[in-house]
């Protein structure tokens, strides 16, 4: 404190510029501004936010509220009232979700970094005693729910997936599981969006539901693509994308058309198609115990 005051007084008294810039530097390093800005820039460059100014505003606000509320969960020992805890928990949760929303999951390294940040944030919150091995199961499950609804999934679509990957409240979620859970949810949300587009394409006219036989053909193609044989990841990706290529899909649909002639067959509505597509995905989510 005394030092700070001295340097502050120093700027007022002498007018010479060299002294001023010297004390400026001193002030900045004492206040930790250099470190603060370097961290912010690194985060920005890593996230490559679409709206950099908004990103910096959010980043500094988060930091400020963190430092103002003190280390979360630590503070008053067992004096922490349950209500306060949940408020803090919600703050941490929304901060974690904000980090996760910064980069699309296809931006692998940026996304993984953000998962790490979210994980670190969430391990710090929870009840009075922290769970040693990671994020509390209850918070983890809640976060996955939020991720799904932020991804535009309806409750009913997300529910089967969440049932599959959720944890018990008392469990501790280690990082690897946490990462996979997050990736599964974000990928699932994307997948459902894509399948909705697929249905719209099959239906061809928005006011009429799609033909059942065509939908079946598309879903079968989709299933086949998801069931790629074993082998290296990259090879499987290539194989899958070949199997779901527009040409393949068109062929599958043409085959059905050729067989069924031009009759007005039974139809399938968007909901059913989405559920069927979701089931294909969820069936391939392995549960780790």
């Amino acid at each position: 404190m005394a030092e700070k005051r001295r340097s502050g007084g120093g700027t007022v008294m002498p007018d010479s510029k060299s002294v001023k810039s010297e004390s400026d530097k001193e002030f900045l390093s004492q206040a930790g501004v250099g470190v603060l800005l370097r961290d912010a820039l690194l985060k920005l460059v890593e996230a490559r936010s679409e709206d950099p100014i908004g990103f910096l505003a959010e980043h500094f606000s988060n930091l400020a509220s963190e430092s103002e509320s003190g280390p979360v969960g630590g503070g008053g020992g067992d004096g922490g009232e349950p209500q306060e805890n949940t408020v803090e928990e919600q703050q941490q949760l929304s901060r974690a979700l904000w980090h996760l929303s910064l980069a699309h999951h296809s931006q692998r390294s940026a996304f993984n970094n953000n998962i790490r940040l979210a994980y670190d944030l969430l391990t710090q919150c929870g009840s009075i005693q922290r769970v040693p091995g990671g994020v509390q199961g209850r918070i983890y499950t809640e976060m996955l729910q939020c991720l799904c609804s932020e991804g535009g999934l309806s409750g009913t679509t997300a529910a089967p997936l969440l049932r599959r990957i959720r944890c018990h409240d008392y469990e501790a979620v280690p990082f690897e599981l946490f990462r996979q859970g997050v990736q599964t949810c974000t990928a699932f949300a994307d997948y459902i969006r894509k399948s909705q587009c697929l249905y719209a394409a099959v239906a061809s006219r928005p006011e009429r539901p799609a033909e059942r036989s065509l939908c079946r053909a598309v879903l079968a193609t989709l299933e086949e693509a998801l069931d790629t044989s074993h082998g290296a990841d990259s090879a499987r990706f290539l194989e899958a994308s070949a199997k779901i290529s527009p040409a393949k899909l068109a062929q599958a649909m043409a085959d059905v058309r050729g067989a069924g002639e031009q009759q007005e067959g039974p139809t399938m509505d968007a909901r059913e198609f989405e559920d069927a597509a979701a089931a294909l995905f969820i069936a391939r989510v392995r549960v780790v115990i």
Binding site: T11, L37, D51
Partner: protein, 329 residues
């Protein structure tokens, strides 16, 4: 301020350059150093948070120096927006103001706002004629937007325009068209001389070349094309006027609503009445001193006096119109 998806493939330096993030960070540090006592008490991290929140919301340019206001496209748009927010009431009252008065209004928001920009704006509104005429706020503000936001671009357009007027063709690519047009113009040269302006098509081609050099800092080429297509010949100021009136360009800048909505915003009315009252009362008492300290030499001696008289009359009439408004309600 939004960026497109290829930001992930840009090199780091390019990404940062495109975002102006470094500009704002360094300004934030400069401000911090200037007011260190205050901000250290406030909390330095909180200060940075507030700084960037205000940049995001666009109220960071209020009362800042001109060089800052001009520094980024976002700052320019924010300033135009603030100008509109603060003085919309003038337009509502239907008051007409002179160049000098608009200049003073701008200087209330930015103390060193140069009169030159205001004069250039007036040239657009008044088509470079009768410069002491009165202007309505809506005429002024859209022209001001074009002048202030695209200043550098307009300067270069003026150079092109003057070259074309002198018969020089700054764009070598279109020499064939102009040479084929030459025999025509020689026969009709007397008409041409009396006619204002330059050939729109040639002008457009030259501006297209200019836009390539200006990267993003120009109105969209399709809008310029629309503006120029209407008339075979165009003068510099009628071109600028048409740009100012083009709603697409205004939407791209995003600082002002459409002309029809310019004065309508019932939500803001109440708050603004209070704000404008504050702005109108406190700075007019200073303006007698600040007007005396204006950097630019007043072109005529008389407008300055009339400015004060007018201002006083306005204040009174302001009050009276508000009274009549409220009595009507």
């Amino acid at each position: 301020m939004k960026m497109n998806a290829d930001r992930f493939t840009l090199p780091t330096d390019d990404y940062l350059a495109e975002t102006n993030a470094l500009f704002y960070l360094s300004d934030a540090v400069t401000q911090l150093l200037e007011h260190r006592e205050e901000y250290t008490q406030f909390g330095i991290v909180r200060y940075f948070a507030e700084y960037f929140t205000s940049v995001k919301n666009g109220n960071h340019v209020l009362f800042r120096e001109f060089s800052y206001i001009k520094a980024t496209p976002h700052n320019r748009a924010s300033f135009i927006h603030i100008f509109w927010k603060c003085y919309r009431q003038i337009g509502k009252n239907g008051d007409l103001l002179t160049v000098l008065e608009y200049s003073s209004l701008l200087q209330l928001l930015c103390p060193d706002f140069p009169a030159e920009v205001v004069q250039n704006t007036a040239r657009i509104v008044l088509m470079d004629d009768a410069m002491d005429c009165l202007m309505s706020l809506s005429d002024f503000i859209y022209s001001f937007q074009i002048q202030f936001y695209y200043e550098e671009f307009l300067e270069s357009v003026l150079v092109i325009y003057e070259d074309l007027l002198e018969g020089k063709n700054p764009n070598t690519v279109i020499v064939p068209t102009s040479s084929s047009a030459e025999p025509l113009s020689s026969t009709a040269s007397e008409d041409m001389d009396t006619q204002e302006g330059v050939d729109s098509f040639v002008f457009l081609e030259c501006i297209k070349g200019l836009c390539e050099r200006f990267k993003h800092k120009h109105p969209s080429i399709s809008a310029i094309k629309e503006v120029l297509e209407g008339n075979p010949r165009v003068s510099y100021y009628s071109f600028l006027m048409a740009l100012a009136k083009h709603e697409g360009i205004s939407q791209d800048i995003g600082a002002l609503p459409n002309r029809s909505d310019l004065l309508m915003d019932p939500e803001m009315d109440q708050e603004l009445e209070r704000l404008v009252a504050q702005v109108a009362i406190s700075p007019t008492s200073n303006s007698s001193s600040s007007a005396a300290g204006l950097k630019e030499p007043p072109k005529k001696a008389s407008p300055r006096k009339s400015l004060h008289q007018r201002r006083r009359i306005e204040m009174e009439s302001d009050g009276s119109t508000e009274e009549t408004d409220s009595s009507e309600n």
